[in-house]
Amino acid sequence: MTTDMFESLRLELRRGCLILAVLAELRTEQYGYTLRKTLADHGMAIEEGTLHPLLRRLESQGLLVSRWQEEDKRNKRFYRLSPEGTLTLEQLIAEWRRINSSLDEIL
């Protein structure tokens, strides 16, 4: 398999997992930069230009809420899970565990 093809399959595989990871990380309020660093520290690195549009999309879907807040004399946009997001995250985690155990059996 070529490296390009593997990379494309890997990205496809990660895409859905990233949303789950972002929602899970946002149980605690964070702003974009720290969120990206936390994700990277946990082995879920995300491209610079990808995270913010994803956060906006999740917010427009009602899963996140955000606010501007001053920190270290700079305005930063902080995100956290909305009540609907919390509920969705629980459902997604349950689904993830189901998929994971099915895959474990298959693999």
């Binding site: 702003y31 974009g32 491209e47 610079e48 230009g49 913010h52 549009p53 906006r56 305005n75 946009r77």
Partner: protein, 322 residues
Amino acid sequence: MELLDRYLQSVKWLLPKEQKEDILAELSEDIRSQIEEKEAELGRRLDESDLEAILQRWGHPMLVAQRYLPQQHLIGPVWFPVYQFVLKMVGLCYLVPWLLTWLFLVIFVPSYRAEHPGLALIGSLESFLLIVVFAFTVITVGFAFAERSKILERWSPRKLPVERDPNRISRSESIGDLVGNLIFVLWWVDVLRLPSVEPLRITLAPIWTTLYWPILLVALAAVAIDAVNTVQPWWTPLRSRLRLGIAAAELALICILLSVRSWVEVLVTSGPSAKIDELAKWINLSIGVTILVIGIVTIVGIVRGIRRLRRPKATLVGVLSA
């Protein structure tokens, strides 16, 4: 920070209007945080190449902005392959023959070149270019409309086309070919005569006399194949080979016919000779274009015949046992 400002300005231009400032403030903040962290790590202010590396990782401004925009396309991935196929078909079946006809006129018809000297020859392609633009626009608009319609949601398996057997011969096509070839043979052996239009008299050029028997034999062979195909409408290896042989003979005759410049002589009992010459020129031109079109159709037939023969044998036999 000039590079950063330039970068943000380029992203801003493409962002959705209502969120422009908000998105830009957030992006700017994120990049600045990254810069600060890098400066802390290096223990110095970033130079232009450091900043360039950071911005490179963020990606082209157009790419960054595009991620904030709703996905838009004129023709989506579902319709695109069909769109591409239709464009290719129109190109192959209409535009290529058009272009070949034009090339034929340019190469073989001196009067056409005389009427379009120099750059005017390229100018004579104007209508072709208009047809290209028109065909492309109509097809694109049609597919853009289909993309936005709910046509794919209203479907039933019953309405899907019947599976096409590549070895089945359309009976109506065979009958059409048979009738056409029969009429030609009858005319060729002088049983059928076209009504004469006085004072016009058209006589065939000597090339037709030279090729009288080969043309008759090829036409009779085609009549025989068409007759068998009408009764037994499927291709067998033998008939496929015979049809291919006939098509090859047809092509050879067409090449010989195209090697001359005049196929008929026109005689008019009265009228100015300049007009008679003009008339003869246009009649010959029409015959030349017709022979060329028949040649193209024959080549297509040969290609199809070769592909039919190259198919695995089981496919040909399968029809016979069905």
